[in-house]
């Protein structure tokens, strides 16, 4: 019922918005096409296209396609550009009503001077939208990382994004918990994007083409999460020649292959841990070393270029972590968890001004832990299955408007089954459908002004919730070097995640229901983008966001059996605000960026902390990352990452007592505590270094030798304090984060 009303509503808006432009569009010309990389044929997302003599321009979309319409007849020089690539210019004469199709290949520039981080520079575009950022796989591979290059670890370096600890790749964006970030891989939701129980993310940098991040106030085409979006696209595969990589690290190795075939391209990337030798050595020296542990993942993509207007792709991902752990005599733990995704996208150019995507997605997350202690087994089977269809349309009727609309609908099945001591103790089977429809217009009423307004309707069948999310952003180009931005958006979230920052292998998703309404919040942002001189960028953003109707598992529920669904949760509110500053030097022998965040986030739950606001553990007032990249020569490159952050919040135990245990021999020693998370650990800081040597592998291909040192000056950052309550008085020990860790990897490109 609600969905039908929403559909009608959106259709009317589309009709009203579009009609006035139709007649005008007949007189003007347009140009459209794909922008690809010349060496690989990969589409380039976010490339700039503009007419030199005018203010007309556009940017390639998520499929690498651009449309510029509303061009007055005449001769123009069209420029295609993307940072790190050489510009292409063509002189084109546009006839009245003419639609020019121009697919362009861009050639990479001198890699010696290439940038570390890509941000679209010349043209106002989505990638310069407030709250958005883009991370290149080049950055991901260059920054020092424990075990292996990691997408989320790299994202954590950006302002506004925090890590819970050295051991967690979870994204805490602008005061939001990880479940407030929508993670998409080739348009498919990924429900547990972790390997190694959260130590790093599932995304293999060899397989990834583009990482687009919306830290907040994200546009209407996305929804379902209160905070932010990470939209990741796998490579299409090299359309020109067969190529591949082979990378060997001390603890994991990767291989990938890609190439063309008669009607398109393919890509296959494989990654597996190689921890077995390390574990074998440790097993002889340390207790409680896993009997076995491995993880692997496979990414693949097949593209079928039917004709110049139709492309079809099939992408998949499969990843597994498996551990067998004997904690002691008669105490064992096994866990197998992972994700599988499958998506197929049909990209169709309906007309020179209308571009469409139709996608079918499937996402599966599974986790099957088993504990056996003292002959008593606890077993869990936890799965999430999400099947959806979505379609997105882009229409550029003239130079002032760019309209996007789309739908996304699917079925979600969450199954959770527990067995204790051979008996089934929990059997939860949640079935729900969801649907969303949006429309968004990017309007340039003046060369200096850009207004992006959108509306998204969300419907969730479990609990029968329909929610409307208005979004708007306004950009004002003060000068060619300075842009001011503002944005507002409302967001709803129908899911919540039961997780632990130290271990993601048990993650369980739950949904809204009767009595458990969706969480919602408003986001406000003010931004400034300033380029004082060429190749230097300054970005400043202020944000404020609310979180209302938060529902999360009540941590004090020891046993869910027999409880009503709504009794599982505690309900609360929250807010976050902050200031982010990014100073960036994009090119040159020395390049990199400095990101600083001043941030505050607070939560409040009834009957917790005397129902007062408190900072969550991951709240950090000051957070700074300095990423520097120095091209020592054409053979050597040095990279450093320095991080500093306010110590994490923790709750200080103030006093104690002793109470006999009515069911045990030993007494209990409860602590009395003060305000929740009112104390702070010492400040966190760490320096990571990396040196990369570029060479060739016996003439067969290029190679990279990477030498890294994590925590170079061996700062003993504290993860948490552990209180030894079996001592009298209790001792306090510091549980440290990562020590100094050297690592070595060798990669061959063929």
């Amino acid at each position: 019922m609600y969905l039908h009303q929403a559909g009608t509503f959106v259709s009317l808006i589309v009709l009203i918005t579009m009609l006035p432009f139709y007649a005008l569009a007949q007189q003007r010309a347009s140009i459209s096409g794909y922008v690809t990389e010349s060496t690989t044929g990969e589409t380039i997302l976010g490339a700039n296209v503009y007419l030199k003599e005018t203010t007309l321009g556009s940017v390639t979309n998520n499929s690498g396609y651009y449309i510029i319409s509303g061009i007055r007849p005449g001769n123009y020089t069209v420029v295609w550009s993307f940072i790190g690539y050489e510009d292409v210019q063509r002189d084109i004469e546009f006839e009245p009503g003419q639609s020019v199709r121009m697919d362009i290949q861009l050639t990479p520039g001198d890699t010696y001077l290439q940038e570390l981080v890509v941000e679209a520079d010349a043209f106002a575009d989505e990638r310069q939208s407030i709250g958005s950022a883009q991370v290149t796989t080049k950055l991901v591979k260059q920054v020092p990382a424990v075990l292996q290059a990691d997408v989320f670890r790299s994202i954590q370096l950006l302002p506004g994004i925090k890590a819970a600890s050295d051991f967690s790749s979870g994204l805490y964006i602008r005061g939001g918990s990880p479940d407030q970030t929508l993670i998409l891989l080739d348009r498919t939701t990924v429900y547990n994007p972790t390997h190694f129980f959260g130590f790093f993310s599932t995304f293999n940098p060899d397989a990834i083409k583009d990482i687009r991040l919306y830290k907040g106030a994200y546009p209407a085409e996305y929804g379902g999460r209160l905070g932010s979006v990470v939209d990741i696209y796998n490579k299409d595969g090299n359309r020109n020649q067969m190529a591949g990589t082979l990378s060997m690290g001390l603890l994991s190795s990767r291989a990938s292959i890609e190439g063309p075939y008669s009607k398109g391209s393919y890509m296959l990337a494989f990654r597996r841990s190689t921890l077995e030798p390390v574990l074998a050595v440790l097993r002889n020296q340390v207790d409680t070393v896993p009997d076995g542990f491995y993880f692997y993942d496979i990414n693949g993509k097949l593209n079928f270029d039917a004709d110049e207007n139709n492309r079809v792709s099939i992408a998949f991902y499969s990843g597994v972590d498996d551990v067998k752990f004997p904690f002691g005599e008669d105490l064992r733990f096994n866990l197998n968890y992972g994700n599988r995704t499958l998506s197929s996208t049909w990209t169709r150019i309906l007309s020179p001004r209308v571009f469409a995507n139709f996608t079918v997605t499937g996402s599966n997350y599974f986790s099957t832990p088993r504990f056996e202690f003292g002959g008593t087994a606890f077993e869990r089977s936890n799965t999430v299955n999400d099947y959806s269809i979505k379609s997105d349309f882009e229409w550029m009727p003239n130079s002032e408007h760019s309209v996007r609309t789309g739908i996304w609908a699917g079925n979600l099945a969450l199954d959770l089954r527990d067995r204790f001591d051979g008996l089934e103790t929990l059997n939860s089977n949640i079935r729900t459908s969801y649907a969303a429809i949006y429309i968004q217009d990017r309007w340039r009423p003046h060369t200096r002004w850009t207004v992006t307004a959108g509306l998204r309707g969300n419907y969730f069948t479990r609990g029968d919730y329909f929610r409307l999310d208005p979004r708007i952003s306004v950009d004002y180009q003060v000068s060619s070097r300075l842009k001011l931005q503002s944005a507002y958006g409302r967001y709803h979230q129908f899911l919540t995640l039961i997780t632990n920052e130290a271990f993601s292998g048990f993650d369980v998703w739950l949904t809204t229901a009767d009595g458990v309404a969706p969480a919602w919040g408003d986001q406000f942002g003010l931004g400034l983008k300033y380029a004082p001189v060429r190749n230097y960028n300054v970005e400043v953003e202020l944000y404020y966001r609310t979180m209302r109707g938060l529902f999360e598992l009540d941590p004090r529920i020891p046993d869910a059996a027999g409880l009503d669904y709504a009794d599982l949760f505690r309900f609360g509110t929250g807010y976050a605000y902050g200031l982010e500053v990014l100073l960036e030097k994009t090119t040159g022998r020395l390049n990199g960026f400095i990101g600083y965040t001043y941030g505050n986030t607070r939560r409040k739950f009834e009957n917790y902390n005397n129902s007062n606001f408190y900072p969550p553990k991951y709240d950090r007032t000051h957070d700074m990352n300095v990423v520097m990249n120095y091209n020592l020569s054409r053979k050597w490159m040095l990279t450093s990452v320095f991080s500093y952050a306010t110590g994490q919040a923790y709750t200080e135990p103030l006093g104690r007592t002793r109470i006999r245990d009515p069911f045990g021999t030993l007494p209990t020693d409860p602590l009395t505590v003060g305000r929740v998370n009112a104390s702070r650990l010492p400040a966190y800081h760490r320096l990571d270094l990396s040196a990369t040597y570029y060479s060739t592998f016996f003439g067969l291909g290029d190679s990279e030798l990477q030498i890294q040192v994590i925590n170079a000056y061996s700062r003993r950052n504290i993860w948490f304090y552990n209180f030894e309550l079996d001592e009298n008085p209790p001792g306090r020990t510091e549980v440290p984060l990562l020590p100094v860790i050297p690592s070595l990897s060798y990669t061959i490109y063929f």
């Binding site: 632990n500 104690r656 006999r660 602590l671 505590v673 305000r675």
Partner: protein, 297 residues
Amino acid sequence: MLNKTLPYLLLLLIVIIPACEVYKQDDYVEQYVVEAFITAGETLPEVRLSRTIPLSQTYVFEAVAISGADIVIRLTGENGSPAAEYTYTESSLRGVYIPDDRDSRILSGRAYTLEVTGLDRPEDRITASTIVPQQFEIVSLNVGETVYQSDIQFEFKLTRSFFPGRQNIFVASSTALDPNNFPLTPFWADRDGKPEEYIQVSSGLINEGNYTVNDDDTIDLRYPWIGIAYYGPNRLTIYAVDDNIFDYYRSLQTQQGGGGTISPGQIENVLWNVEGGIGLFGARAGVSADVVVNSGF
């Protein structure tokens, strides 16, 4: 113009914004601690009275025990007024109070209140109240003796208890009856503590929803092997607990056991359900059976 003033605006923002938020750690405050557990069908329990200490100090009960207090436990009548009042006298042990009435039994399904006065200041007063879960019975126990971790586990058929406003919550507890002559089971033997620390062990809180309710309104409860620490003769007891024990145990587990959604090092508060102090005034109803656990070797 804007380009020139921009750096100053940014600096101003950075300086002003941090001044907005103040959330400081509070100081330690000494509190009274009261401790008593009443059990359906049993006599009135002793009451222990003490104070908290700062975390850094060594805990010795005698050093923090409170002497000279006035303690009374009241049975609440049907209309809410006291139906009986039981006064306490301090024993020879400082801070440990014993009932003057040594014969009266705790009634299941009834409400009791505890009141402590005569403390440091005249206005100081500790109060707590509870409801005793309805007494229940063992209908049958499948075997009296079995081999540890064999296919045959101890299985109780129980009548149902009752607690107002929620499902029954149980704690299964075993007490070794001859720990000097029988060894620990492997799981418990592998732990760091001394063997005598495991003479009585328990399961933690178990919701009745884990068990099937039979047509005759009985439930079948399988005793988990993990809840048996010693071979040989053991007393297995199934308790139904009140809200005070339920809140205390679940919050203590969250504070000290962590796990679940609790981050490492995160220390949660304990739910006390005591006014004017902290502690535990808990109520329970239980049934027991003596069994023998053989090692199988």
